[in-house]
Symmetry: C2
Subunit: 652 residues, 2 copies
């Protein structure tokens, strides 16, 4: 270790100083994991400082994001972060936030923090690498490294993801475990006593255990690179090594003060003041991280240049995919011959079929074992793998992993991704959906079986509280189409979303007849479907409730009450319009009725645009019974709503 | 098998008829799992028809809830369900919903449907059994059986729960696996190729593999009962056995028609029409399920009667606990000497300390490795186990399992339970929280670190979209206290909740000064803290935003603008008051400002009570920086809000 010690200690010194300056931090792992990140970055990971998001770089995900300084410290010495960046750790506008945050042009491959999700994202990256390397051969050929703590491996999402990685044989995925025997509240073995070797063998991984020195870690990684399976390397470390709480769970978030700095300086015989380091340290990292990486990048660029001359077709396709120029499905999708009176999930199947026929293979789709029901499928019988024509993943019954893995696929770049399950089970995925939105990924989901009308499967399968959960997330937009035209718009949105998470919500039950839908209207999030010269009232609704609005309007027309009907395909998009558009769209003589079978109260924001206002939402659990009947009993029927209109809006 | 075949085939026949009559159902598992449930119910499970929620019954959780007919069929023949109940499968008001649903007085031990959660609930039941049997000796002494499908074991929550069960050595937990090699979209091995024996060994479980015949299953269960560890029994079954799609994934939800019935009748040589069965079938189940169980129940009752005479103290305590009469912590909690200017999470610590000192041991608390931070702890060093004075579980970094396990503890009965983590990580638990609320359990949570002010840990750790997610769930009530008095109310609520999920939301940062809080006001969900004779405007806020309301009011007082201040400790509770109370509470001359650092738009329901209205919410991700500064930058500062008041409410 001696040869490397001064560099590792420089990393530790930088880390402890940054944490002291920030006033708080995760000292424990910043100390324990430095030998691991040192070995990875100086000996293995290929990255380019001149092109930080180089598509063929090795990926590194710090799943235990709280150990951020163990990543920032080598990145500083290698020139990716300035000393001011380090001094600004956890400060406004800094490049060194408390947990690493993915940006379009930084060295961070994934935002992490909520434990376990980094593992899923790594698996996604390794999947993307595998698919792209099959297609583009040596243009894509890299490893994915993931550093986990004890917390990450206790989380269910890491288990789900690693189980799938074992099944898919992702041999270029290497997970390193900062195994320091401590977690926040206690020693690890007070909450967790698995035999990790057996666990990983059971999941078709290779398992290597090693000491926390560079030579051991290096040897382990070299062996891992040769393995035919994904590899888990357990590195036995000491949490908070060099602090007064070394080896103790209190060091996890140990407050660093002057006394602690002195202890550290004595322990490692290094300086930990003033953020000053020998030039030799910088030279070493520059040579072994930056220049080593840059050479690889230049060699790759030469390969690309050569390809542009030798095989312009593949070159152009590669360029397109890696710059997010995917097939424009709006040119493929056609609704003309589609029968309108189906479940909106059936439109998913019909449009996916149109897409499949056009050999779209730049999109990884998948389902948590519900493709047969959600209809998001190229061909359910084709599994992910070198033999599949189109990349479709059988995620198994692993919703949370699916969402985290999709984040990883998108972070990798070069591919789109859409995943599906029932709307109810989006509950399992919430944290990953949030993380994807936070990273501004072009993430897309198909969630079907969208409310009480699921019926017989009962309240566990009847969603109503999922729509508010999803809408409440910054950057997440829901699309709840009311017919084949809006479903086409939604599918196109899912395939073309940029920096936003787009979620299509579809019904299991056939919808009733609506009129006036159009793609231009959809762009506004909400628009008028039926407009009379003198509108007495307005009904705004989403998805399957738009059909109900027409039923009500037709009934009221018999009494010469004129109803304006507004389809709100995306409530958040609609409310982002200027006041005038919103007001004009919703205006009518007496007021506004809004209808959505969900417990989202965002609709009440419309109250100010109406003289009188009533919202028909869904706030209570259903029961196992006929879905249509249940829907009606929950108030979603024309008799009830006509009576409400008369009482609360027209106020007869 | 021959001796048993006619009874098992009667179960299958009943199941397939019920599914045919319902028009849809999960035929696959109803066929494959009957030998397992037959063996369990006729030979092992002790239940009482006369007292269906007998506290010392064996628990049975059908984690693969879609296989409900494999539970309903023995329950019918044993007299727990009538033939009409079976005919009404999936119909309004039925006792035989699509997925089993827990009721206060039925034979179902847990509502299931979202896969994997039944495992967590079983683990919770086994934990409750272990703790109660230590305290009440042979009064509590039962097994917990759980039946899983392939889906359940692929879910992360089952992994997390089983890992903890292995650690805790829950030897009376027996999980049976309907291992039929098929899932909805494909064969299991196309998505999952773990070695289950190794997996369970790695988690400190015993693993037994057996065939799908009564003798094999019986032998396996007998062995499992003797094990010192929890046991996983993999029973190799044939999905949809006796249907035209036997052994094929299409049988999972196979539609049963007349042709299918004929196929079934030929295959098993039994009748499957008219819901008619020999009396001998009923006699057999009556003897082996009902009478066998009733004898056990009567013997237990005699034991209890004896105890009432011999040890009235223990008897009375047992009676209290098992009838949900727990220690009334409102008599313990005192706020008088508590310093008010602390983080509200610190009040959790202070009040928990008061509770600990009073030797309250009827409540299982626990945290997903954040007790040191949430302060919900008796004494973090004491782990769950026979040596602990108070039952506190180190759940490890397993949030989802924690929530599912808590549901199981509460379903078991005889104990309360409160769990804690950061509000951000409630994302991982959403589906279990929902399921607990659906079952009307007395579930409680402490979620701390409640908004932007978490600061340096960055956007992953700064919740704002979790409050709407939780409030949107039917039966879930949030309490966001603004000071020590409201924190006391909240703690008391968490310990005394009935049929509602109560969630306390606490800050990490110290709060500022508020006045006028009181326990009677809290009961209304919202109440006036400051009332002047002529209120110009009203500010209603929750939690840490109440202090901000006072800051604004003090500033406006200098300009002779009178501010009424309303604390909304529980928005949903407040909105359940009659219109008059709400209106009187919120009324003022110009209008209403509401403030909450969350993206919940439920606040907009208050719009109708005010001439002018503005809501200051939190809709965008924060960043890693000083929390107070971030909070201010997001609009939560008096200067911004005073300007808004003048512009939007007073309309100067």
């Amino acid at each position: 270790m001696s040869k490397h010690l001064k560099y590792i200690n420089a990393m530790r010194s930088l880390s402890i100083q940054a944490i002291e300056k920030a006033g708080q931090g995760h000292t424990g792992m910043a100390m324990s994991a430095c030998p691991i990140t040192y070995t990875l970055f100086t000996k293995f990971i290929k990255i380019s400082k001149s092109s930080q998001k180089w598509i063929n770089r090795d990926r590194f995900v710090l799943s235990a994001g709280h150990g951020s300084m163990s990543l920032y410290s080598p990145m500083h010495f290698a020139g990716f972060l300035s000393i001011n960046d380090i001094k600004n750790h956890k400060k406004k506008g800094c490049k060194t936030p408390g947990h690493p945050e993915y940006e379009e042009n930084n060295f961070v491959d994934a935002s992490t923090g909520p434990l376990g999700q980094g593992v899923a994202m790594s698996v996604g990256m390794a999947i993307a690498e595998k698919y792209l390397s099959k297609k583009f051969k040596s243009l894509i050929n890299h490893y994915t490294y993931c550093l986990v703590g004890d917390g990450c491996i206790q989380e269910g999402i890491s288990y789900e993801s690693m189980s799938l990685a074992g099944k898919l044989g992702l041999n270029k995925l290497i997970v390193l475990h900062d195994s320091n025997d401590c977690q926040l509240d206690a020693k690890v073995n007070e909450a967790f006593n698995e035999n990790l070797e057996l666990r990983f063998k059971s999941m078709n991984w290779d398992y290597i255990k090693c000491l926390n020195d560079v030579e051991s870690i290096e040897l382990a990684i070299k062996q891992a690179q040769k393995n035919k399976k994904p590899t888990f390397i357990e590195v036995k470390t000491i949490i908070g090594e060099g602090t007064s709480c070394a080896g103790c769970n209190k060091s996890h978030g140990l407050k660093v003060d002057e006394k602690e700095i002195s202890f550290f300086e004595n322990y490692f015989s290094v300086k930990a003041k003033g953020f000053k380091f020998d030039k030799e340290i910088y030279n070493y990292f520059n040579k072994n991280v930056t220049q080593r990486g840059e050479k690889k990048y230049q060699a790759w660029k030469e390969k690309i240049d050569k390809l542009s001359k030798e095989n312009p077709r593949i070159y152009n396709e590669f360029k397109k995919w890696t710059s997010n120029k995917f097939v424009d499905v709006s040119k493929i999708l056609k609704s003309d011959d589609v029968n309108d009176l189906q479940a909106t999930r059936d439109f998913v199947g019909i449009y996916m079929n149109q897409i499949s026929k056009n050999r779209v293979n730049d999109t990884i789709i998948g389902s948590a074992d519900l493709a047969s029901a959600t209809k998001l499928s190229f061909d359910v019988k084709k599994n992910f793998g070198i033999d599949s024509k189109y990349p479709e993943i059988l995620y198994g019954i692993r919703e949370f992993a699916m969402s985290g893995i999709q984040n990883g696929i998108l972070l990798h770049g070069g591919l789109r991704s859409i995943s599906s399950t029932f709307l109810s089970f989006s509950d399992y995925m919430k944290s990953s959906i949030r993380l994807g939105a936070m990273m501004k990924l072009n993430s897309s989901y198909v969630f079907t079986h969208d409310s009480y009308q699921v019926g017989g499967d009962g309240p566990t399968h009847q969603p109503f509280d999922q729509i508010p959960m999803l809408r409440a997330i910054n950057g997440v937009y829901l699309y709840r189409p009311c017919d084949k035209v809006e479903a086409l718009y939604t599918l196109n949105k899912l395939f073309s979303t940029k920096k936003e998470t787009s979620i299509g919500i579809f019904t299991r039950q056939p919808i009733s007849n609506v009129k006036g839908t159009n793609l231009d209207g959809c762009k506004k999030g909400g628009y008028i479907l039926q407009n009379k010269s003198n509108n007495d009232i307005t009904i705004a609704a989403s998805g399957s409730e738009v059909g109900l609005a027409f039923e009500i309007a037709n009934e009221l027309a018999k009494e010469n009450i004129n109803v304006k009907i507004v389809s709100i395909i995306s409530l958040k998009k609609f409310l982002e319009n200027d006041e005038k558009y919103i007001s004009n769209t919703l205006s009518s003589k007496y007021g506004l009725l809004t209808i959505e079978a969900s417990s989202d109260n965002t609709w009440y924001k419309m109250q100010k645009y109406a003289n009188n206002y009533y919202h028909q939402g869904a706030y209570t659990f259903g029961e196992s019974m006929d879905g249509d009947q249940l829907y009606k009993e929950k108030g979603f029927n024309k008799e009830n709503l006509i009576s409400i209109i008369k009482k609360e809006i027209i106020k007869e």
